[in-house]
Point group: C2
Chain length 422, copies 2
């Protein structure tokens, strides 16, 4: 029995049937550094997928902050501690002025759940608009707002679905279509006698197939929701913390100031940190009705780790790197697109790239070939994944420290993997 | 402006109105070691409250495991990794054989939320029974099952309330009253046309005033719920991981095997770890309907930390310590009770003790005096808190490494604080 087969058997036996692994042949990782990962056979992989390791795997300054604070004090927000305040200040400095408060959780799921609880209290409404293939978390509430999880997660109460922007297929280049979809959903809500609460969107629509365009669509849509008395919640678990290169947050690319901003995955370079920024009026009204205490949220260790991640992004120029290297990555994949008919579209913002794979004969979405490409790249030592309603969009989302040299390796691996998957 | 006043102002301005602090004069902690904490003025506190720091603040072996794994690899359960499997094996070894699977989250809230999602799929029911002053978390679902949070958290759908066991006031010594309360709630459910899903209880009823007795009450109540087609979920966030001294889990004191067990606070000695153990049939059915992925849950760093905590409990004999020192703590507080009429009851299991404070003239619950005692102890350098529906139960729940010497200090501080609060 090989080591991996043994791990697979133990995993199935111990963890049960709800877990999934990446790749036809799962990867057994044992160490990581920067953009590199190593498996139990000593094989090295270029990580072009993991945004959780936002500033690179095992960044020494992040590990040092973690270890130092964990050896000093790890307690909670019912005592005073300066680290959580310093971290709150740093996060809010990176936000529009209107977002004056931040609360801490441990995960993006908890962040979305909390933002929705606060939005319900603030608006008095219950109607929530999300996209048709959204993903917002794994709590009962957020799983119910995650149709991309499939039929197993029953829809939340008073949820209304809209199509995500998709200029390749819907032909709309100015964002008015998404706004009119939201307006139509609000009309359905009104007809049902449901009071609007929130428009909740992942600002790069990753599970809807990675849709960074048209810019401005979110501003127009947020205007519709606000005119109806609801709030706009920007889910920055995917696009946030420098990912798009031009801006720290995905919503900023759309020229909109959200009422609430939820954060997760990339905040802690792997350490469990989530957060919700909000207009103070929202948290004040929530706080008048309910107290909130998240045992581990905003603890001194998490706060020091979060601060270290923001320090590294600033000191290593990772926002600028995401812009520069992201542009090169897009150019490289576009060059492949010019030669490979199976790539129907390339969509990117900074270091977040989606490449739509289609059947070269029919032009139809080709999830089988997308999966074949992903698995061929894994075999060749480059980690990416696939996404989207039809599962045919290559999802390329490397750590922010990805280099031009890494782009060359990614592109050559993608080229050979496309050839091998034909 | 004093340092604390400045921190309070920044906190209110940055974090908003939903956060609460302990004590009339909040404590500004800067370091911790074992059962000791230190504030910014260099004052030392004996920690007789924090179960999160289960094996002691900043335990060197836990910090070492954290730092070593964080410097090696921190990724997620979509790749193979041995640490999560070793941790799953160790946790399940400590459970009854029927509980053969475990899934990982980051918090106790997420654990309860996941257990309820799985229970709903498994039973096809929605009716949930909880106690009248329960606390089970901060997600929308679990906050809706936490009446102790007050009116700000709207009750979840199909929730039914029962009184917690309270032998001092309800006079029932054999647990049949709690079981008959559950049976009556099931009858109300039936009358409403609601299908039973779960009985969910904190196995030491901490927010209901700390009620470790009568032993066996949970077994009888679980039998009622199972006979009606629902499952029994033991919330071990409070009583679990060795706290009660005689057993690793609170449910075991009651001679019952739960269908699902949820864990949180004490698992990681401060690091965010939650978990749900279950009968495999439950997670298999859940997994057939839905996939589950918690980005940070069960990551290699959390798994190594969780393993280190279990190692320390075993190697330092902390379960036995909780029994021995807990018995001495109970004896010391009972001795005070024999001399202080304001202590109406002392209830303890291992290192979890509740002492009910009443008005010496009327015998009525005296939350004001309980708070005065808590604040006087804080001023004298010992940290405890108060709990219960009337807020009059002193809540004493120190790290598991509490010593007999620490008990002396706690008891003398409690004695003088009772005198000063008269």
């Amino acid at each position: 029995m090989t080591s991996n087969a043994h791990l697979l058997e133990r995993r199935r036996r111990l963890l049960g049937g709800a877990y999934r692994l990446f790749y036809t042949e799962p990867v057994h990782l044992v160490s990581g550094s920067g953009v590199w990962l190593r498996d139990s056979d000593g094989k090295t992989y270029l990580d072009a997928y993991n945004n959780v390791a936002s500033v690179g795997h095992c960044h020494p300054l992040v590990v040092e902050a973690l270890a130092t604070q964990a050896a000093t004090l790890n307690t909670h927000t019912r005592y005073l501690h300066e680290a959580v305040l310093l971290y709150a200040e740093r996060l809010l400095e990176l936000m529009p002025d209107a977002l004056g408060n931040v609360m801490f959780t441990c995960t993006g799921s908890e962040a979305n759940d909390l933002a929705l609880r606060a939005a319900k209290v603030f608006t008095g409404g219950t109607g929530i608009i999300i996209t048709k293939h959204a993903y917002h978390g794994v709590t009962e509430l957020t799983a119910g707002l995650s149709p991309s999880l499939g039929a197993g997660a029953p829809p939340a109460h008073d949820v209304y679905f809209v199509s995500a922007p998709d200029p390749l297929h819907d032909g709309n280049a100015d964002g008015t279509l998404f706004a009119s979809n939201v307006r139509a959903a609000l009309e359905r809500m009104r007809a049902d006698g449901v009071t609007p609460c929130a428009l909740l969107v992942d600002t790069i629509f990753s599970s809807d197939g990675i849709q960074p365009f048209p810019r401005g669509a979110l501003r127009l849509a947020a205007d519709e929701m606000r005119a109806a008395g609801g709030v706009f919640i920007a889910d920055e678990v995917q696009a946030g913390v420098g990912r798009t290169g031009t801006h720290m947050w995905g919503f900023a690319r759309h020229g909109v100031v959200p009422d609430l901003v939820t954060m997760g995955k990339p905040l802690g370079d792997g350490h469990p940190i989530g957060a919700v920024a909000a207009r103070p009026a929202i948290f004040d009204m929530f706080g008048d009705k309910a107290r909130y205490f998240n045992t581990f949220g905003g603890n001194p260790v998490s706060a020091r780790v979060g601060l270290a991640v923001l320090d590294v992004i600033r000191d290593e120029g990772l926002l600028e790197n995401a812009a520069t290297v992201g542009a090169a990555m897009e150019q490289a994949v576009r060059f492949l697109q010019s030669r490979e008919a199976c790539i129907a579209d390339v969509r990117a913002a900074g270091l977040y790239l989606g490449a739509e794979i289609v059947d070269t004969a029919t032009g139809a979405p080709d999830a089988v070939r997308a999966a074949a490409i992903v698995n061929a790249m894994r075999a060749d030592g480059v980690l990416i994944s696939n996404s989207g309603p039809a599962g045919n969009v290559l999802k390329i989302r490397p750590p922010l420290c990805f280099s031009l040299h890494n782009v060359d390796r990614l592109a050559s691996c993608l080229e050979s993997s496309i050839a091998m998957s034909a």
